[in-house]
Symmetry: D2
Subunit: 333 residues, 4 copies
């Protein structure tokens, strides 16, 4: 008999990936998966890749979820706070939404609007000090997918004084599952295939989270929707401070990390290599012409960018091996 977990918001893409990871996890038992409009539907009708999983989606409410030891919330942004407030204090929670990520209530208001729900422990174990904090927390705010990709690339460089936090330029391209499973014309396959499409240029709501997680003080972030189902590729540039080798700084920061891989010099990360895994691939160099630091970071937005990261946090919170139920290797090609 394993540890009892539940997934609220199980009909979306992150929810489906959580169900897949939990099904393969040696210590976790799925006791409930809930949804809104899809409640009452068999899981496999909503997620055909889970054919053979004999479970019906329940209703997303506190009663259905309270019986679990740990609940994953994979709800639309803004819906976590109300539900979390209704769950018993003894039920641990990992929230995959943005509601509890920001320290700065003002930034919340400017970018998301509405009332700031509060701040939970930030769920990126590889940041200094975060691993222990997560393990000691009953409530964890999982990173956003863009923030995870960019923070792993940049935070150690700023922390080491090797990169100027005041002039960071990021272009980050995401696969379509990052936009969620809502039926919108701009997300139709006909529109997306063969297309690269920037959006929210100049004012993306993840900017405050990225600044908070990286230490950047000025950040230009340009998100692009890319014609692939999964994956984020972030190109991060900043002016160097001092003469540290940026790749060496990253290597030192992640030498003992199971899921963050600084690739051999000259080898650049690409998204497909991380698909289905909980790994992040990194590489860094100095641009020959401009002298800027260039870091490229790749991960699976549903893996290390969402569900995998959430399971990693849950493992820490539950006292399990941090890597339990997670894979280092991607599914490619």
């Amino acid at each position: 008999m394993g540890i009892r977990v539940a997934v609220a918001g199980a009909s979306g893409y992150a929810g489906g990936e959580l169900l897949r990871l939990i099904a393969g996890h040696p210590e976790l038992d799925l006791v409930a998966a809930t949804a809104h409009s899809q409640a009452g539907t068999p899981v496999a009708a909503v997620h055909p890749q889970l054919a053979g999983l004999d479970l019906v989606l329940g209703v997303t409410d506190a009663e259905t979820l309270a019986d679990a030891d740990l609940v994953f919330l994979a709800l639309p942004h803004g819906q976590s706070a109300a539900l979390a407030a209704q769950l018993p204090a003894g039920v641990k929670i990992v929230d995959l939404g943005a509601d509890f990520r920001l320290h700065d209530a003002g930034a919340w208001g400017r970018y998301y609007g509405g009332t700031h729900a509060g701040t939970w422990t930030y769920g990126l174990p590889e940041l200094p000090g975060h691993r222990a904090a997560i393990a000691a927390s009953g409530r964890v705010a999982n990173t956003g997918c863009y923030a995870a990709t960019i923070a792993l690339a940049l935070a150690p460089l700023i922390a080491a004084g090797a990169a100027d936090p005041a002039d960071v330029v990021v272009v980050a391209s995401s696969g379509t599952s990052g936009a969620g499973r809502s039926a919108k014309v701009n997300l139709l396959a006909s529109e997306v295939m063969g297309d690269l499409s920037p959006y929210k240029v100049g004012a993306h709501q993840h900017v405050p989270e990225i600044k908070q997680a990286t230490g950047a003080t000025s950040l230009s972030m340009i998100p692009v929707l890319a014609p692939m189902p999964r994956g984020i590729l972030a190109t991060v540039t900043a002016k160097p401070l001092g003469d540290a080798d940026p790749r060496a700084v990253l290597q030192a920061a992640y030498a003992d990390e199971p899921f963050v891989h600084v690739l051999p010099a000259g080898t650049w990360p690409h998204t497909a290599a991380t698909a289905g895994s909980n790994s992040c691939h990194l590489q860094a160099t100095l641009d020959v012409d401009s002298g800027r630091i260039v870091v490229v970071s790749a991960l699976d937005n549903l893996g290390k960018g969402a569900a995998g990261q959430a399971v990693q946090c849950a493992n820490l919170m539950l006292g399990l091996p941090e890597t339990a139920g997670l894979t280092v290797f991607g599914v490619a090609p």
Copy 2:
């Protein structure tokens, strides 16, 4: 200390998938992975999705492989026989190539040319009698990816006398990894994306294997290259004999199978739901206009169509649980 396995031909797509599955297998230890031109290269340089796997490709020869308890051969067609002959009799072998699949030496000559190497136990455990035969064999010829897809759809219907073996029409579309990792212009992304491209129409070399595995006596097989990295979708039609419900026949045949799923009535298989898994999804109906049986079958050509199937066979040959190291659920979206 687990069972020692090796992979010959580890630089290709099936080889890479074998390495991934072995790395996640609870009972198998990888002792060697070999290649031809890539010998001496780190595995992760050839398969970036395996970043973190600390292994260098060896040379494909008997000396490198003989130390294993079981060897997977993922070589180009026609190269298995010579290598197999040099391996000690006590080393079990699963050959992913076509060399030892056919009973009919004449069919080999007509479709492949050259000398017929012989016939090994055919590695499709779900066919009647095959599971026990595989478990008792030291040499197994893994199914081809098309044959696995089509045989799982059709063999029970012909065996049950429900489908006429004399007028079978199949159209089967494959993702590009099925064409291998060789640098050919027609496999370039520029040529493939946005394109459906039939090939070897009217005379595909897998026809004899498919007839042998299904019991069909006349088969029209049209293969199509599809713009996706993985997956095979086969549409199989045949005239009905008697009045059995084809879906019920498939359900009866696969009721106890862990990897073959007859979907709920009205739900049709699609390839993405099987990606990364060892599952095959099936559905059948009678066409309203023509009355023909239509079966649709989907699987991952590198999973149940190649490396997953090979591991399933190896599990049987080694006395392990048949499902060890394999996943039922796909990675989607």
Copy 3:
């Protein structure tokens, strides 16, 4: 001053392609483009590929359209009849919907439901006798995209007595634009990329149109959604009658056609080669194992399968050169 044309239903994919073709047509002037919910929106906001076209979508009603010499109706199935009835008799109409295609009111009722609107001249100029009939008509029912692809492949063989009309098996895969521009989860890029997905297996509503256009008396039609924005690939098999070479029959039928190309022997059609064009590519052979005739047909579902075909019909109806404003060559890669 050219001939005045209008497009009703200009916000969809076929409507957008009509606008593109009309803009490049030497004899046609676009006087109105209309829509429902998008009325009042600039065309380029709905169709970004038409940036620079200075036109606002009007309301789809008879008043807006009556001023044109010819109106293209690119409306959802079932909406053409009411609008057509309100247009003056002198306004020529090409309807891209299904409403007026079928001769058999019973088949309409069985497959579409509701009242049969009637029957207009069928808009496939390459069928025997159709060119003259179209030129003489003021009302033309444009072919469906599947029907065009399949009829061009099969009709000459049945007409020549070379193929048995009583046992035709078709598998036809379509790009996603064939499913229209409606926001549905199953059409999201996340669901479609990397996926082949059959639908309406065994009972597709285009079967009666295909039978009518080809002469087939029994037809198994399996449609598949493919991960590409445009293109249809149909594989058509039938039993041969007599010993005619099926390729030679097709060559004879299309020797003088500008848009139908029987490829050199051994070269098989693929969809990307027809993208953006009004061409259909064909090839035929006899299957070595089964002896069945196999014909493969490829075209652009928005080109020869919809908007291109409609312009070709309009050219005939207006006494213009049949090829005016249309291209033979595809946009590839």
Copy 4:
């Protein structure tokens, strides 16, 4: 009888697009299309989208080409100089390769190596003064696809003193046809689909051309291979100088240009909207957090990035209307 043109290097992707454009051009007659290893092959066997074009590829030599009024060279970089030297002075030439683009022989040596062939008129008509220079030239060096995308976005801002040329950061993603038609494993569909892959990070050979064309003095350029056949999306950021509205600067620069479209405020360019056209779409804003200018530029790398641009230059050189044979509107979806 039109103006006689020839295409050297007609077997590649840019060559194929040139043939397509010339076939649709009202004033140009194609008198020769040449290749190396494919000489002697029918054009339609090499470019299936040109089925129906009755022409055999000739040998790439001066004798075959000298009879034309204008020759397009679509050769691998480094091969244009020798051939150009053998052509009569009266034969006009548009070179799609890099050989004659750079003013700075030192930069050529550093990035390309070998001897600098010389400098021809740079073929980007929309840059100040370039249109007249092109019209007066017999030898024109067509822009590179990255340089065209980036120069159209940035050159007017630097020229107007609105952007700091000393800290430009560009991330530019290209479809695969930009990598050419050579059979390389990293360009296989299996590797590319579902993948974003940066390359030559920190030291791309197009940097000197981009600096020359834009006026940038320090440039960080990160190229990314994207899973689509065509299109380039460049995100260009620079520090603002003064308080000019960057969008207004671009609007003023391109008010009379037929092929460069500054989109309505708030609408961002995406690549698919330009496919098959000679258009470039632009948008600009100031980043809310960093204050940097962000310009996004999209075009078809084979259109305005290569063959379309070359035809536009040829039109100018031949005294034809600049837009002859070119399309403003893209083929989408």
